[in-house]
Symmetry: C2
Subunit: 233 residues, 2 copies
């Protein structure tokens, strides 16, 4: 299914933005009278009929609006940027496919680079949302210093991906279903002692993501998928 | 930890191949007497001491050999190639990080492209094995027509990633721990009716990978991680 995105639908904007108009009319070759499926990225799906297939400004008439099913849990991953920008992009795309509510790029003591292309990540969020037929665009924030993030974030299930040799329980074992989760994912050099202490002070609990040594972006995805399995299966 | 790979260690080959020799001596600048950690990719870790740090042929003396812990389950993912080669590469790298025993690239009715760079994928397996500090190199096979693969593969837990609307149980619910699993992952266009019938005839069972529509490479990773969680947590 080709899902189109128009965030201003709730304001009464009933046309596609230029990129989507072009894709719709030139690539997919949709005509007047054809059906369109859209989302506003705010939790709603729409069915519409094309009224004017203009390649710059394809207009439509909404015939149906439907709320996407809501979930009784939410996942927020706070992740250090990766040295290689591709890897972070991969994490963003895959986590949106699986299902994620918020991503915050956090600068940690051992983070190797902090130049991220937020606009590019935002575009990836949109295309992954469309491709995986979701109705809610995840909230993407970056870059926030980790201590600031730790101090302000609100959640009922707060975890830091850090293996405690004395109590190496997996996130799957530690998390309770039906909560609002935040999981901190550190850089390749791991969290510093100070960051760990700060997180623990703020009520974050250490959780393992399995016996294997994972790259940052893989850890982020494993955390996301683990919480999904816990809540949906 | 920098893990080096020498598959011929069991034959008594006590030097690194040229690429690894150069990395060891020029990049990591290891010297005579320094410690090396290696794997043969066949289930063993070795500790060694460098005897001659030649940039083409770094020789060492083994001081210790240790079997890596074995697992009581195995994961074999049979996956269609993806249109974009990068995506398949991501799957290979990430599944090795999480832990996988075998990957077979299977050509399906709706597979869009079958030109894969097997050598490149093999290199990725090796580097992901080293980076995630594992001792067993996954077996990588490709390209095999799906019917041939289905007819010959042996496993105790055989699944096809296909959502049955009447019985949409998740792989996590359907699989029993401590088995040898094979999971078939189809292309973006899904399996054909004939492929599904063939798989079911051969004892494969339909399993869902969650409510979201996943790309091929994401589905492969989700299957791999799901079976891991089932067996290790």
């Amino acid at each position: 299914m080709n899902l189109f995105y128009q965030p201003r639908l709730p304001e009464g904007i009933h046309y596609l933005d230029p990129d989507e108009s072009r894709h719709c009319t030139k690539v997919l070759r949709k005509k007047q009278g054809d059906t369109l499926h859209l989302t506003d990225g705010k939790g709603f799906f729409y069915t519409a009929v094309i009224t004017h297939p203009d390649p710059q400004r394809c207009t439509f008439e909404v015939t149906e609006k439907q709320a996407a099913p809501t979930r009784d849990f939410s996942i927020h991953i706070a992740i250090s940027p990766t040295k290689n920008a591709d890897r972070l992009e991969w994490f963003v795309e895959k986590s949106v496919e699986i299902g994620i509510d918020a991503i915050t790029i956090t600068e940690c003591d051992h983070t190797e680079r902090i130049h991220i292309k937020l606009e590019r990540l935002e575009k990836l969020c949109v295309s992954a949302m469309k491709q995986s037929v979701k109705a809610t665009l995840p909230k993407l924030t970056g870059v926030v210093p980790l201590p600031e993030f730790i101090a302000h974030v609100k959640a009922t299930g707060k975890f830091i991906a850090y293996v405690d040799p004395d109590n190496p329980l997996h996130l799957y074992q530690m998390a309770t279903p039906h909560q609002d989760y935040v999981v901190l994912i550190g850089p390749e050099g791991d969290f510093s002692k100070e960051e760990l202490a700060l997180a623990l002070q703020q009520g974050f609990r250490k959780a393992s993501l399995g016996p294997s040594r994972l790259r940052t972006e893989t850890a982020g995805l494993v955390a996301c998928h683990t919480l999904h399995l816990l809540n949906t299966v």
